[in-house]
């Protein structure tokens, strides 16, 4: 049997890899990919807690479903924004998007 700790450690590592991508990558699309990894690790945690702590409940699964919906909405809008910015400013580098900085 696999103890819960394995899943939690795995999800934590995946989350940190995603976080590293978000912090470090220049390309805005790559940043969104990092966010996807983070959301996935959260989902693993939700399902793992449901399975190990309250297998009769439904909350973990329902939350995971809502994470799916939010991830889809986030990707759709995020990529649309990037495409729009690319079309106006010919750049997808996150550091260049500084029009609102001051």
């Amino acid at each position: 049997m696999i103890p819960l700790s394995w899943y939690l450690i795995f999800a934590a590592i995946l989350f940190c890899i995603g976080l590293y991508g978000v912090l470090v990558r220049k390309n805005a699309i790559a940043i969104l990919m990092g966010i996807e990894l983070m959301l996935n690790s959260v989902n693993i945690n939700l399902i793992a807690f449901w399975r190990y702590r309250s297998p009769d409940g439904i909350a973990g699964q329902a939350f995971a479903i809502i994470v799916f919906a939010v991830a889809a909405a986030e990707v759709a809008v995020g990529l649309a924004l990037i495409i729009s910015i690319y079309r106006r400013r010919s750049s997808v580098v996150a550091d260049d998007m500084n029009l609102m900085k001051w």
């Binding site: 479903i65 799916f68 919906a69 889809a72 990707v75 759709a76 990529l79 649309a80 495409i83 079309r87």
Partner: protein
């Protein structure tokens, strides 16, 4: 339950092997007489000009986007459909409302002219 998925996992291996092995074997027995002329990018007899990365229309992205949204919502309807026999009238109606929201979405995309190709 787990053993059903075990079958699918094994099937995944086999199914990758079935097309993969002939491709590999054919690579062993087929001739290898490549030259630069032969392996040029195909372009109806002309030489290729520029990068492969031509600019694509944003329309492709928008179709994929519409598909994504529909897909996510439809997937949520499957548990509802499985539980249909035990649902109360309220449950059925909230599912129907869910589908109607989807319909409104389709109409909105239609009005906006997203679904036109030209």
């Amino acid at each position: 339950m787990q053993s059903d998925w075990l079958f699918i996992g094994l099937f995944l291996l086999i199914v990758a092997l079935f097309p993969g092995a002939p491709i590999f074997l054919a690579g062993l027995i087929s001739p290898h007489r490549s030259n630069t002329q032969k392996s040029q990018t195909y372009e109806c007899g002309l030489e290729t000009v520029g990068d492969t990365w031509v600019q694509f229309r944003v329309q492709y992205y928008i179709f994929a986007l519409t598909f994504l949204v529909f897909d996510v919502e439809l997937v949520f309807l499957f548990p509802w459909a499985v539980a249909f026999g035990q649902l109360s009238m309220f449950g059925v109606l909230s599912g129907v409302i869910f589908i109607l929201i989807l319909f409104v979405e389709l109409l909105a995309a239609w009005r906006k002219g997203v679904l036109e190709w030209a």
